[in-house]
Symmetry: C2
C-alpha cells in the first residue's frame, strides 16, 4: 500500500491528513500555524510533524507518493506564492522548499479554495464529476473551478476567484479588493448581513430579525426556516444575485454540478432552492440540467483535495 | 514525417487542411457541404476528399496521426452531437462514423469555436499561452476557453458559450437563445448595429452614420476611425459591455491572453482599446496583466485547431 499526505495551511492551524492511495483518510490532526518572523517556522514544523507520523506508523519514505499542500493565497503552477494575507510569507517557493526539507518527497501546491473544490469532486458533493464549480460562502466568497478533472489555476494562480465577479455596477461601497459590486459583497456571510440590514432599514416591516442582538447569516436563515417574510425577501435577493452569477459562469464552463460550501452552507438544503430557481431562470438552455448540491466534507475538503492533487500527478 | 488533417465543417463549405506534425500547413482546400437528406453525404464526401489527397501526395495511411474535426454545434467528449442548426444532422456519432469510414484513422471532434480557440493558441494570437479566452464577434458571439492548454468542453459540450452571458437584466428584447440581455445582443456584428440604431434614435446628434444606406459593424468602426463622435459613443458602449463581461470571466479563468476574433475584429487594433480600458477598470487586481490581441489566423483558425486536437491526443 502507498500513502500520501494532504495539508491545509490556515492562518491559525495547519490541518494534516494521512491518506491511502485509494482515498481512505487514515488519520487527521492539526498543528499550530506559527506566523511570526514571516512564518519561517511553518514549513519546518510541518516537516517535523510528517516525520513523527511516518515513524509512529512505521511507513517507509519510499511508500509516500507525495505531499499535497493548500495555501490561502494565489499559487502559480510552479508552486510559488507571491504574497499571503495571513501566513506571514512574502514570496515563497513552497514546493521547492518543502521538497528539500522532506528529503525529496514530491510536493504539489495549490490555492486552498481550489484544493477544497478538488476534495469535494473526489470524495464529496461533486463525486464522480469532472466539470464542477465550487462556491465557498464564508467570511468572503471563494471558489474553485474544475475542468476536465483539473483545477483552473490560471496564469497568475488566481483562477476561480468567483467572489470578485461584479454583479452590481451601481454599487457605491467598496469591496475588500478595491472594486465595487463584487459577488462577495452580497453573498458572503457578511454580505448576507449587509443585505438584511439594508432591508430592515428600508421600512418598518415586522421581522424576528429586529429582535436579534446580532444579525448573522445563521440568524437570517433560521428566520427563513421560521417563515419570516422579511428574511425570505433577503434570502430571495441573495439567491437571485448568486444564482444569476452562477448562470453566467455556467455559460462559460458548462459544469455538471455546482457545489455550495462554506459556513453559510450550514443553513442546509433550504439554501439551494433560493439559488437554483434564479439559476434556472437565467441559465443558457444547454446548462439547465446543472445539478446543485451542498458540500459534504466540511473542514476536511482542503486536506482531501491536497491529497488528490498529489495522486493525480502520480498517475 | 507524420501528418494530420484538420477539418472545419460549416453550413456552406467544409474547409480542410493537411498539416505536418510540427504544425506546418501544407495545403488547404474546400468542398461543398451537402446538407440535404439530413446531411448524409457530409462525412462520405469528406472521406473521399481525404482519400484523394493521400493518393495525390502518396502519403501512407500509417503516416496519418489522425483527423481533427470542428463542428458548429455542442460536441460531447465522446465526439457526439445531439443536434445541429445548419448541417442537417440530428443525433450523430461523428467520431465513430468518420473513424469507420476512413478505415480506422483516429478522429477527434470538437465544437468549431473551441477549435478556433485552440488554433489561435497554437499558431495565432495566443501563441505560447496555455490559458486563454477567445471571443469570436461575428453574426453571433462565440467563444472558446483554454485552460491548462485544453479546451473547456464542458459536461454538455457547451463550454465557452460566452455570447450567452447575461450583461443586462433590464433588457426587454429576446436573444436568439430565448433569454434576454445576452452579451451577443450588444457585441455581435448585429448587436453593434442595434446599439448604433438605438443611439441614432435617441436624439438628432450629427453623425456620418446618418448618411449610411445600411449601417454595419464595419460602417460604425470606419466612422470611429474618422473621429465621428456618435460612432465613438457607440464603440465606447460596446467596449464597456464586452470589457466588463471579460473582466468577470477573467476572475473565474485567469487567462494570460484574451484573443478577439470574428468579422468585427477586422476593424483592427482600434477595437482593442475600447475593450481593454473598461476591462482594466473592472478587473480583479490579479487579472490586470491580462494581454489583449487580435486573432491572426482568420478563416484558418478552425482547421489549425482541429489539427491540434489530434496532435494533443497523440502526445
Amino acid at each position: 500500500m502507498k500513502y500520501c499526505f494532504g495539508i491545509d495551511i490556515g492562518g491559525t492551524t495547519v490541518k494534516m491528513g494521512l491518506f491511502q492511495e485509494d482515498g481512505k483518510l487514515l488519520e487527521k490532526w492539526e498543528i499550530k500555524t506559527k506566523t511570526e518572523n514571516e512564518g519561517e517556522a511553518i514549513l519546518p514544523d510541518i516537516t517535523q510533524s510528517l516525520n513523527i507520523k511516518m515513524e509512529e506508523r512505521e511507513i517507509d519514505r519510499e511508500d509516500i507518493l507525495g505531499i499535497g499542500v493548500g495555501i490561502p493565497a494565489p499559487v502559480t503552477e510552479d508552486g510559488v506564492v507571491e504574497n499571503t494575507a495571513n501566513l506571514g510569507w512574502g514570496y515563497k517557493e513552497v514546493k521547492r522548499e518543502l521538497q528539500e526539507l522532506t528529503g525529496g518527497i514530491n510536493v504539489e501546491v495549490c490555492n486552498d479554495a481550489n484544493a477544497a473544490a478538488l476534495g469535494e469532486m473526489w470524495l464529496g458533493g461533486g463525486k464522480g464529476s469532472r466539470n464542477m464549480i465550487m462556491v465557498t460562502l464564508g467570511t468572503g466568497v471563494g471558489g474553485g473551478i474544475i475542468v476536465n478533472g483539473q483545477c483552473v489555476v490560471g496564469s497568475h494562480g488566481a483562477g476561480g476567484e468567483i467572489g470578485h465577479i461584479c454583479v452590481n455596477y451601481q454599487e457605491t461601497e467598496p469591496c475588500g479588493c478595491g472594486n465595487k459590486g463584487c459577488l462577495e459583497q452580497y453573498t458572503s456571510a457578511t454580505g448576507i448581513v449587509r443585505l438584511a440590514k439594508r432591508r430592515l432599514e428600508q421600512d418598518e416591516a415586522p421581522s424576528r430579525l429586529r429582535r436579534s442582538r446580532q444579525i448573522s447569516a445563521k440568524t437570517v436563515f433560521d428566520a427563513v426556516k421560521a417563515d419570516d417574510i422579511l428574511a425570505i425577501e433577503v434570502a430571495t435577493e441573495f439567491g437571485k444575485i448568486l444564482g444569476s452569477a452562477l448562470a453566467n459562469l455556467a455559460a462559460a464552463c458548462d459544469p455538471e454540478v455546482i457545489v455550495i460550501g462554506g459556513g453559510v452552507s450550514r443553513a442546509g438544503e433550504v439554501l439551494l432552492g433560493y439559488i437554483e430557481k434564479p439559476f434556472q431562470q437565467r441559465a443558457f438552455f444547454a446548462n439547465k440540467k446543472t445539478r446543485f448540491c451542498l458540500a459534504e466534507l466540511g473542514n476536511d475538503a482542503g486536506i482531501c483535495g491536497a491529497a488528490k492533487l498529489v495522486l493525480d500527478v502520480e498517475k
